[in-house]
Each structure stands twice: as C-alpha cells, then as structure tokens.
C-alpha cells in the first residue's frame, strides 16, 4: 500500500512544478498528438482575452517557433493525418448514404468499418484462416514453363487474374492464371542494346504492380527501373538514379508511390503520378535484398549482410532498426499486417517481428533443411504472407515450400504443411483472396550461381489452396 502512495506522491510533485518546461510526451509510433498541438494553437490565438499562467506560457514557448513556421507553409505529419482522416470519414459517410434508402446514415455500419480499419492499422486484425487450409494434392499444383533462365521475381495482379514474372534471361512474362498460359512476353535484349531495346538487357531482379493495375514496375541489374502498362506491357517510363542493381520494388497500396531498394544501400521514393523522383533514404550499411510495403506510408527492407531489417517511416523521415542475429544475411522480408513482418535469412531461419519490439517475436530456426547426408541448412530465398491473416509461407532450395500458421498476436508459429517443389524458390506471393500461392522457381538462386540444381525446371508454379468447409 505504501508503495502506491509513494508513487502517486511523486507524480503529484512532478506535475505541479511551476516554471518547468513541459515537453510533449512521446507516444509509441509518434501518433495522435494532434490534441496537444491544436490546443497550443488555440491558446496562442485567444491569448488576448485571458492572461496565460506561467506554466502555459513556458509550455508553449517550445511549440511556438515550430507552429509559426509550419502553419502557413507546410502541414506536419499529424495535420496531414487529420486531414486524411476527415476525408476518409466523409467518404465513408457518402458510401453508407448511398447504400441506405432512408436519410439516416447507419452509424453502426460506419463504426464497424472504422473499427476494422483501426484493427488493420494497429496490426491486430488477424483473420484466423490458416487452420482452414488443407495440403494441396498434386492436381492442385500447376507448373508453367516459359522462361529460358531461372525466374527471379513475380507479382500477382490485384484481381488475381494475371501473374507477371521476371527472370535472368531479362524477360518479363504476363501469365493468365485461369487459362494457365502466357499472355504477353517482353523479351530480354542482349548486353549493349540498351538504347534501342524496349525491355531489359540485364537480369530482372524485382517486380511490383500498383493496386489499381495501372502500373507495373521492374528493376534490373542495370540500375534502372522500367514502368510498364500492365495490360499491354508497353513501356511508359524509365527511372534512372540508382547506383547499383535495383533489388526490391513495392508500390504503396492504393497509391502510385513506388519504393525501390538497391544494392547501393539506398531506398528511393518515386511518384508515378508526376513520373518524378521524390527522395532518397539512407541507413543500410550493405546492399538491400528485398523491399515490401502495405497501405501506410512505410516500407520495410531486408538489409542483407548488415543483418538488419529496417522499417522506413517516410513522412517522419526516420527509420526503425531491427537487428537480426550476429551471423548471416537477411535475404527476404514481407509485411504480414501493418505491425508485423516476416523475414528469412540465409541460416535457414524464418523470423516474425513486431514493430514494437527490437528482437523477433518468433524465430523458427532451421526452417529449411536439405535432405541428404550433408544436413546443410538452405538459404531462405523467399517469404510471403497473406495480408491481415495468420498464414505465412517460406521458400528455399530444399525442395519444399513450407506454410506456417501464426499463433495469437504472433507469439508462436506452427508448421502447417509443405508443398513439394524442386529448385530454388526465388519468389513467393499469395493472391489477395488467399485462393492460391504462386512461386517463381529456378535452377539457381536469384542473385547468383552458387549452385545449379539440374533436376529443377525454370518455371512458374501455381498452387491452388483449398479450404475445409
């Protein structure tokens, strides 16, 4: 009892010290301090009427120069969020009003949607679907061949009808899933024909597609990013500016902002509405191996040999650094939801991270083991997650794609089943509805030729996932 009293006494003393500068309390993630700021503003404007006490003046002193400067010119991150939230609310109300016949807008429906969105933002929306899936039969696995050299990357369009793959033969192929065949091919050119050739002349390392299917971006070893129209596969624009191979690309969901990570240790932000370069983010100490992004203005990158996973907060111009273990290289990374990340490294570990903890929440060691006498651990070359659910997949060269189920609030990870696939799994993606999983398989690793598995075939593997119901 006395312990409590002592604490409350301390709290009382600290709050009533007159003349001490009160700093705005730091909240996790730096969100929702709009109240503090706006209150300060109001006090300033209404200062003529009432005499502000010493405390108030001193607490505003720190805020004043910032407010004055940013008031007219530029909105801070918080104000931007406020404006966007108001817009979103207005949009929701419109939608609900359209749905309803009567004039009264159903507040419950809006609040339900808002709740879901809030959960999604917080990373707590976790649809427990993993348990419903059953292992696929051989009939569910479709192998499509078309590339000459190993596939390196792939993306699924948001309507889950097309898959785009890139390979070491510098070509990009658009596949139709329903029919199971190629629709369009952008052939690769020979080295030295960069001016004339329409496609790539070096290994295509990464692909990304915008959520409204307006733009497809591809990055290659020639330090360039090509922007294509996904329907016709005609080239729209080329971005230069990176100083080394572009290894990771991702669009921000719902926008035309493109993030690109490269082996020159920088992340660049591009705006495709203006077809312009926006900014560069520094921080990695070694080549960036992979990049992913969801709906928030954030990107996550896998740092390779610097053994870090970094989450970049674009509006705040800051980064969160998550350190992996002391040896090895983190090769692939993906967002599970807004607050959780899954990553794979070359020691065969698959780790799930939460944005609030500096150490991984779960670390599955030796997720992929090579069969045979060597007992060597295989590099995890691709990870994927079904957005806002508890299903994750990891691929390596050991002949299996393993699917995992994340436990409550991502504190545990249980193996579900594995799909037999021969070769290096260089890319893995779930369709948005979770009905199938696509894998880009090749005879070699996407970044080099340390091994060449002869029995493997350079192919796109479509695995239909069936649920029990």
């Amino acid at each position: 009892m006395s312990f409590f009293i002592r604490n409350s006494a301390k709290a009382k003393i600290s709050s009533t010290k007159v003349g001490q500068k009160r700093k705005t309390p730091g909240k996790p993630g730096g969100k929702k301090t709009t109240n503090g700021r706006l209150a300060g503003k109001r006090r300033m404007k209404g200062g003529n009427e009432e005499i502000a006490s010493d405390e108030e003046i001193l607490s505003d002193v720190e805020d004043v120069p910032e407010e004055e400067a940013s008031e007219d010119e530029e909105e801070t991150a918080q104000e931007k969020r406020l404006r966007l939230t108001k817009q979103y609310l207005a949009q929701l109300e419109e939608e609900e009003a359209e749905k309803r016949v009567t004039d009264e807008i159903d507040r419950d429906a809006i609040s339900h949607r808002l709740q879901e969105d809030l959960l999604e933002q917080k990373g707590k929306l976790q649809r427990k679907v993993a348990a419903q899936y059953i292992p696929p039969t051989p009939a569910d696995i479709q192998v499509l061949r078309g590339h000459q050299l190993p596939l390196t990357c792939l993306v699924v369009s948001s309507d889950s009808k097309h898959v785009y793959t890139g390979a070491k033969d510098c070509s990009i192929i658009k596949w139709n899933i329903a029919e199971g065949k190629k629709e369009k091919v952008v052939a690769g050119g020979r080295k030295g024909t960069e001016d004339k050739h329409q496609g790539h002349t070096a290994h295509v390392l990464c692909l990304a597609i915008s959520s409204d299917n307006k733009f497809l971006a591809s990055g290659c070893r020639n330090k360039i990013i090509h922007i294509w129209d996904p329907v016709s596969l005609t080239r729209l624009h080329t971005f230069t500016g990176h100083r080394d191979a572009v290894a990771g690309l991702a669009f921000r969901k719902g926008t035309h902002t493109l993030f690109s990570g490269s082996h020159d240790k920088t992340v660049k932000v591009w705006s495709l509405d203006e077809m312009a370069y926006v900014e560069t983010l520094f921080g990695h100490e070694d080549s960036i191996m992979a990049l992913d992004s969801l709906a928030r203005e954030r990107a996550v990158t896998a740092g390779g040999r610097d053994r870090t996973v970094r989450v970049w907060k674009i509006p705040e111009e800051s980064q969160l650094v998550f350190h992996g273990e002391n040896r090895g290289s983190i090769d692939c990374v993906a967002f599970i939801n807004e607050q959780h990340i899954v990553s794979g490294d070359d020691n065969g570990n698959v780790c799930v991270w939460g944005l609030m903890k500096k150490k991984p929440l779960v670390s599955v060691r030796g997720a992929h083991h090579a069969e045979g006498s060597e007992q060597q651990e295989c590099w995890v070359s691709a990870v994927a997650a079904l957005t806002n659910s508890d299903l994750i997949a990891s691929g390596s060269s050991d002949g299996h794609i393993r699917l995992w189920q994340c436990g409550d609030s991502f504190k545990t990870v249980q193996p579900l089943f594995s799909v037999p696939v021969v070769g290096f799994v260089n890319g893995l993606k779930f369709s948005s509805d979770g009905n199938f999983l696509v894998a880009a398989v090749g005879q070699e690793h996407r970044l080099g030729r340390w091994w060449r598995l002869k029995p493997a075939r350079n192919s796109l593997v479509i695995i239909r996932l069936r649920k029990t119901s």
């Binding site: 230069t240 921080g283 111009e317 800051s318 650094v321 609030m356």
Partner: protein, 273 residues
C-alpha cells in the same frame, strides 16, 4: 501560392539586362548540375535542405522563373520533388534533421533519421574495445593478504633456487668482467632475498607460537596481553637461538655477535679530537 504570383509579376517588370544576368547566374548554378545529369541521384551525398527564409525562397523563385522548363525539370529530377518543394516554400526541415528520437523503453527498436548517409567504411566484425585494468587498484583483484599471497605463489621458490644455481654455473664459466659483475649482482640480490625470507620466517614462527599460547590462556580467563616491540625482539631472538641450536651453529653466531658488539663499542670510545 499568392507569394509566387507576386514574384512572377516582379520578374515581369525586370528589364532585359537584368534578365541576362540572372540567366547567366542560373547557368552557373546548373554548370555543376549538368555535369552530373543522372536524374534522381544525390550527387553530393547528403544534400542538406537548408532552412530557407522567405527572402531566400523569393530569390530562388526569381531564379527559377528565368530558367527554362527543361532545366527546372532536370533540377527537380536531380534533387527530388520533396526537397524542391521544401526549398521553394521555405520550410525548415533542419529542425527535423536534428531531432533526437527517444524510444519509450529499451525493448523498442532503435529509431534514427533516414536522411543521414551511413559512414563509407563499415565495421563488418564488431571490434571489442580493450579495457585496461591495473590489478593493484582494481577491486576485482580483491584485498591483499600477505599469507594468502605467499601460499599461492609458493610454487616460485623451487624455480628461484634453480635460477640461482644456473647463475652460479654461468659465473664459473664467464670470463668477461662486465658480465661477471652483473651476474654477481644478481646472485647477491637473490641471496639477500633468501636471507630476508628466512628472517621473516623465524619472526613469524615465534609470533605464532606466542599467539597460540595467549589464545589458550585467554580462553581460560586471563586478560589478553599485547606484545611490545622489545618483547617481540626477545621472542625472535629466542626462536633464532632455537634454530641455531638445531643446526648446531650457536658458537659461530655468538662469535660474530661479539665481534659486532665490540666494533660498535669501540666506535663510542672517546677519541683525541
């Protein structure tokens, strides 16, 4: 945006001669930029967005209004639209650059600015800093206790004896005077050390005996008695006598003692001054 309009009108009033000057200025400005024409590259790593006041922003707008559209586009590609807009509308992002990110508790990941380029030379293996300790003053070495020290380093005694024997052998072989002197010095030092050690041993033995006796008596009820320096000397002498008797060198010792005393007394005799 009203301010931008204003400057546009201003530049409209400017005469052609002034335009030429500002045109050349802008060319100079781009002279550097045109060499590094890679769009979207920060040629000088860490292009700082300096906090521009409205006056600077106005001059920038004036210059920009005289540049051709292509040049403006090239500039925007080079520095990025974010910094371009910031410089144009004069916001201070320098304040953000010096912002110190403090995490709520130590379990949160480290947060740092994403605008500072990392150092070029990277420490691949974490190098540990060597901590230098002086065992004499370090708490880790513990307290000094003579007895424990002697006991733990008693293994050195046979080694010292061996070394002395070796030195004596060397002395017999050595002809060079200098080196002979050195060896003799060393042998003398070692002998001195042995002698002092022997005397210390004798002293310790005597005192130990006395203390043991005293303890017994105190237990039986007698008041404890602490030795004076002179008493200690007497005890030591007694012990020495015992040892000499054991080894049979009493006579020799007494002779030496008499000689010494005689010499001392002779010194105190009166002299003819």
């Amino acid at each position: 945006m009203a301010s931008f309009q204003h400057t546009a009108d201003e530049s409209g009033d400017v005469s052609s001669s002034e335009e030429m000057d500002s045109g050349s200025d802008s060319e100079e400005e781009l002279g550097e930029g045109s060499e590094v024409q890679k769009a979207g590259s920060d040629a000088k790593s860490g292009v700082t967005t300096s906090s521009t006041t409205t006056a600077e922003a106005n001059t920038m707008k004036k210059e920009l209004s005289t540049m051709s559209f292509e040049d403006i586009q090239r500039l925007r590609d080079k520095i990025g639209t974010k910094t371009y807009n910031q410089a144009l509308h004069g916001s201070n992002s320098k304040r953000d650059q010096n912002k110190v990110f403090k995490r709520a508790n130590k379990n949160r990941p480290v947060e740092m600015s994403s605008k500072c380029p990392p150092p070029r030379i990277r420490q691949v293996v974490p190098i540990k800093k060597k901590i230098h300790r002086d065992p004499r003053f370090d708490d880790l070495s513990g307290e000094y206790d003579e007895k424990i020290f002697e006991k733990s380093y008693s293994f050195l005694d046979p080694m010292k004896a061996r070394e002395k024997k070796y030195l004596e052998k060397q002395l017999r072989k050595e002809k060079d005077e200098d080196r002979r002197r050195n060896i003799q010095k060393l042998i003398r030092r070692m002998e001195q050390q042995e002698r002092t050690k022997r005397q210390e041993d004798i002293k310790e033995k005597a005192l130990k005996e006395w203390k043991a006796k005293e303890k017994e008596l105190v237990k039986q009820g007698k008041k404890p008695y602490f030795l004076k320096k002179s008493d200690e000397k007497k005890l030591v002498l007694a012990q020495k006598f015992k040892e000499l008797k054991k080894s049979g060198k009493v006579e020799k010792f007494l002779q030496k003692k008499r000689k010494k005393n005689a010499a001392r007394d002779r010194k105190h005799l009166p002299t003819d001054s």
